[in-house]
Symmetry: C2
């Protein structure tokens, strides 16, 4: 079976490119003595998580508890949930999960730490606790180094929980002085600083310039998208993920409609791009995907020397790989044009 045999819209992943992307980032980590913990929110596939582990990752990062549960069931042994796991029910699920894998969870409040501690103690398991630090992104995270030190200290005193390090997003130059202040405070109270973790694909190849970071989480690098092209993580050729879509209507000379709309490509903007296109058309670089409706992609082809014709299938690099993957139930894994598997995206929609 080849790619051409499958109905569109179709998400395809070139496994040779995936292997090369994994190898390149792991080599970078090894070269600089950094710990590599890939974020699986991009692919949501145990198969690729295992490829990342085999290449040398110390473990994986997950955004949600349900994502972590799926990866644990598939045999991934070391999982960090970089998201506050709150409430009694979720704390119990986390405590149970900690019986299956080495589990760490990052959060910014003592409430979350206490909930996890209580549940883990009841289950006879143990959870590593990371303090989530807001080093400037203004999302989650404790607001000051003093708060980080206090939460590290308090969490470490709780049963069945150990303070294991600091977590932040993204890895920016501001992290250096922020983390140094925490390290000094931890030393004063005699607490080991654990592992300092940064995150994000943009700038991941500069992580070694921030000496305070021991470990990084990157997700998008494995597939690539228009944002990774724009931020210099990798060129077009390193984009493993593509979306195939068919011209279903050609109502005017200048406009064609394809069968990928917001429910396939999503309205994510192209980070770091000067245009506002909803994706890049590989065969027709001058084609402008200028509007998406639920199932209709509007493409202005007025600037194209030759134009895609009715019924033709074209290939799009999505603006945001994470978002596009999350729209599909399955993905076609291929080597060259030969399909290896049509794989369910195991952790798609794993929101809880």
């Amino acid at each position: 079976m080849t790619i051409d045999d499958l109905a569109t819209p179709l998400l395809t992943v070139d496994m040779d490119i995936v292997a090369a992307n994994i190898s390149r980032l792991q080599s970078y980590a090894d070269r600089h003595g950094l710990r590599n913990r890939p974020h699986v929110k991009t692919h949501k596939l145990p198969l690729i998580a295992h490829m990342q582990m085999r290449a040398g990752a110390v473990g994986i990062a997950c955004q949600k508890l349900s994502e972590a549960e799926i990866m644990a069931s598939a045999g991934i042994p070391d999982i960090q949930i970089v998201y506050p796991v709150i409430g009694r029910q979720k704390a119990r699920r986390a405590a149970s999960l900690a019986g299956l894998v080495r589990l760490s969870i990052a959060a910014d409040s003592l409430e979350v730490a206490k909930g996890l501690s209580h549940a883990a103690a009841s289950h006879g398991t143990h959870i590593d606790f990371y303090v989530d630090c807001d080093t400037g992104w203004k999302r989650t995270g404790v607001q000051t180094p003093a708060d980080a030190i206090a939460l590290a200290d308090a969490s470490h005193r709780l049963p069945a929980l150990s303070f294991a390090g600091l977590m932040t997003y993204p890895t920016s130059p501001a992290v250096g002085p922020w983390f140094r202040e925490v390290f000094a405070g931890l030393e004063r109270i005699g607490l080991s600083r654990g592992v300092a973790c940064g995150g994000g694909t943009p700038g991941v190849l500069e992580t070694h310039n921030i000496a305070e970071i021991d470990e990084f989480r990157a997700g998008t690098y494995v597939y690539g998208d228009r944002s990774t092209i724009n931020n210099g993580t990798g060129p077009l050729e390193s984009c493993a993920l593509r979306m195939r879509t068919t011209v279903v209507s050609a109502p005017t000379e200048d406009r064609v409609i394809v069968d990928a709309g917001t429910k396939a490509l999503t309205t994510e903007p192209p980070e770091g791009s000067s245009d506002e296109r909803f994706g890049y058309v590989v065969e027709y670089p001058d084609a402008d995907i200028f509007l998406l409706e639920e199932e209709h992609g509007h493409i202005d082809v007025s600037k194209c020397a030759s134009k895609p014709s009715l019924g033709e299938t074209i290939t799009v690099i999505p603006n945001n790989a994470n978002a596009a993957v999350n729209m599909f139930n399955t993905v076609a894994l291929h080597c060259s044009t030969l399909i290896q598997a049509i794989s369910p995206i195991a952790a798609r929609g794993a929101l809880e």
Copy 2:
């Protein structure tokens, strides 16, 4: 089991409100002698499609072939695909589907009509063909009444296909004169005008003012969202679909983070609204969901008299019900606060 027992983010559907919304629109259709063909892209659930049929719908509308296949397998007897079904493989699937249900397909090109005709003739089945007319929306659709007449005529001459009527989106005042011109042309060539179909929830309750329309497709009315509130289709109380989300972090006085981001609420804007919030918080009307990341919802609570606290679950009316439903694998159907079923969203991700 009650709603409070389920992990967030959680999509809930109040079935009493759904029943009332279905009844209200069907009554409107009956009162004006209009044919009602609900669009199932909103709920994507055979259960609710059957409720709509039982109330008096003439059939359902689907956006994609795979959506139609799922609804046909669930026993819905009359399906219109308001989307061009193109390519040999899909034409064969459509022809096969036509053996199971009364199938109609709308398209704007003779290429699509020929493909369907060829496949249906081979399968010994029959497909009703609707001419998709661009009456001003600039999406798919033939560009002029003359083109519509020509395509109606040509499609009707093909084996295993009958011209069955006109389809347009949305139902706007421009439809009247456009369709009248087609009707006159069809009469000249002795072709029955068939059924004239309009679409869209906004303005659906004004359909009777456009005398040329026989049948309407509406989807969103069944659940309601911020757009239907804004366009006057129904008040807040008629919103059956809600998203429950939990405060996972309260990093500053003015800001909380909830566990619903773009992968739950999507970045759809609130149509017809003066604000740019990514949803309406029922318990805290002054809360401003001002930013979404993949799994993080940022809420400015500075204008709230009382503020949601860490660990609290709040209820959000999404900007766009169709988009939100498409993000979840399951939905909790309830009467009052009692869960009736946690239903897989059967046609979620049915893109092909």
